[in-house]
Symmetry: C2
Subunit: 258 residues, 2 copies
C-alpha cells in the first residue's frame, strides 16, 4: 500500500463521524487510527511514499514512487477526490520545467532557481531538500501552517497565477504581486491529477470510469473511493475497496491460470 | 426499517469477520450488535415485521407487512441474497392456495387442513398461530432446530416436492414419502423472491438491477446489499446502503420541490 501521509486526507480533520456503520460519535482521527490498526493487524504494510507515476508495461505496471520503483501485476487506485485544476501553463510546460516530484527531478536544477507550490506540509520537506541543491528556492504554500523551512528557502505567501516561458521551457512563475524567475516549478498536490498519474485511463465527469466490479478502462487497473466519483463517503469507499480487492485477486488468479 | 428477525441473516452465524474495515477478529453476533447499537443511537426504529408485498400506487408505495400497512414515498430494498428457487407448483397456485403470510391469509382457511414449509424458526410461530384456526397443520422445516410447536401441529421432517391441485386451486402437497391433503400451503423463506415482493422491477442475473446511484428500474425504488448482486460482502452492503440512503433523500428533496 503506497501513499503520502494521512495528513492530506479530509478524514483526519473531521470532528465527528456518525455515518460509517458500527462506529458512532467518533472523530476522524480515531476512525483513521482504528483503520490503521486493522490494516497493520492484517499484516499489510503501508509505505509512505507518494506515487508520482504509473507506467503500463504490458504484462506489469511500473510504479514510480519518488526514489523507489515498484512492479505490480495489478493496481488498485484509491487516490481520493482530486479537486485540483491545472494551473495556467502547467500542462504546457509539464516535463519542460514543471514537475511534481522535487526528490526525483530536483538534481536536474542544480544551482538554478526553482519554485515549489504546495497544497500541504509535505512540500516543506521537499523545499528543504531543494535548498541543498538549487541556488534559490521559493516556497508558495496553499495552506495555513507553521512552515518549517530552512533559512535558504524563501517563503512567498502569494497565489501562484501562471507558469510562463519560451517555446522550449518554463522560465517564470507569475504570482499575485511578483514575477519569479525560475528554471523549474514543482507542484505538490494533495491528489495528483489522475491523467498525470497514469496515462490512458477513461475519465467520466472528472472521476475514474469504473464498472460494477470496480475495473477501470485499462486491463489490470481497478479503482475505488472518492477518485471514482460521488458520493464522497467513507462507507462507499470502504465497500468499493472491498469489491476492488476481490476483483484484483480474481484478475491475478486468471492471469496465473494462463 | 422493516425486517424479519436477524436470525435469518448469515452474519449472525459467522464465527469471525476480518474484512470490514475498522473491526478485526470480531464475531458476526458482535458485529451485528455493534450495528444495532449504532442504528438505535441514531434514533432509527427497527420494526420486526416481515414485509410481504409492496404495491406501487403511483405517487407512493403501499407496504404490506403482515397485519400492518405502511405508506412510503420511497423504498430502499435491502433484502439480502435470495437463493430461493420457486417450488414446483408454487407460482401456478400463488393466491390460489399458496401464500407467504400465514398471519394474513390464515383466517381464510378456518377449519381446513394447511401445510407450512419454513426455512427458519419464524415459521414455528406462524404454525402455532395457524393451529388455532385450522383443522390440521403440517409443519415442514427446512432447517435444524428445536421446533417449538403446539401439540396440534404435526411435524413432518420431509422435503416438500410439489404443490398440486385442480384448475381452480391447490389441494395437495407432495413430499418425499407422503401426499398431504391440504387447502393451503404457506412458505416462509429467509428471503422473499423479489418478483413476489414488488412487481415489475428489472432483474439482472438474479439480482435487482441498479445504476451507480443504487436506483432500481422503478422510480422511487432503491436497493443495496446482497440483493443487488455479488460480491456478497458486508463492506459493500454498508457502502451501497450509504449511497442508496443519500439517493433516496435526494429523490425526496426533488419530489418536495415539485
Amino acid at each position: 500500500m503506497l501513499g503520502g501521509t494521512e495528513k492530506v486526507t479530509g478524514l483526519m480533520k473531521a470532528p465527528q463521524i456518525d455515518n460509517y456503520l458500527g462506529f458512532m460519535e467518533i472523530s476522524g482521527t480515531d476512525m483513521l487510527n482504528a483503520f490503521k490498526r486493522h490494516v497493520e493487524h492484517m499484516g499489510i504494510e503501508i509505505k509512505h511514499e507518494k506515487v508520482q507515476n504509473i507506467l503500463n508495461m504490458g504484462d506489469y505496471f511500473g510504479i514510480n514512487a519518488g526514489t523507489n520503483i515498484y512492479e505490480a501485476k495489478t493496481i488498485i487506485l484509491a487516490t481520493g477526490h482530486g479537486k485540483a485544476k491545472y494551473m495556467h501553463g502547467e500542462k504546457e510546460y509539464l516535463g519542460k520545467g514543471v514537475g511534481y516530484c522535487a526528490t526525483c527531478d530536483g538534481p536536474l536544477y542544480k544551482n538554478k532557481p526553482v519554485a515549489l507550490i504546495s497544497e500541504n506540509e509535505e512540500g516543506e520537506e521537499e523545499a528543504n531538500y531543494l535548498s541543498e541543491i538549487c541556488s534559490e528556492v521559493y516556497y508558495l504554500p496553499m495552506y495555513q501552517g507553521n512552515y518549517k523551512l530552512n533559512d535558504k528557502v524563501k517563503l512567498i505567501k502569494e497565489k501562484a497565477e501562471a507558469i510562463e516561458g519560451n517555446e522550449m521551457k518554463a522560465n517564470l512563475l507569475r504570482t499575485t504581486n511578483n514575477e519569479l524567475k525560475v528554471d523549474a516549478v514543482f507542484i505538490v498536490r494533495n491528489v495528483i491529477p489522475i491523467g498525470q498519474l497514469i496515462e490512458g485511463l477513461e475519465i467520466e465527469e472528472g472521476s475514474i470510469k469504473i464498472d460494477k466490479n470496480m475495473a477501470a478502462s485499462m486491463t489490470g487497473v481497478f479503482a475505488c473511493g472518492d477518485c471514482t466519483g460521488k458520493p464522497y463517503q467513507i462507507a462507499k469507499a470502504v465497500g468499493d475497496g472491498s469489491t476492488a480487492a476481490l476483483s484484483a485477486v480474481k484478475y491475478l488468479d486468471l492471469q496465473n491460470m494462463k
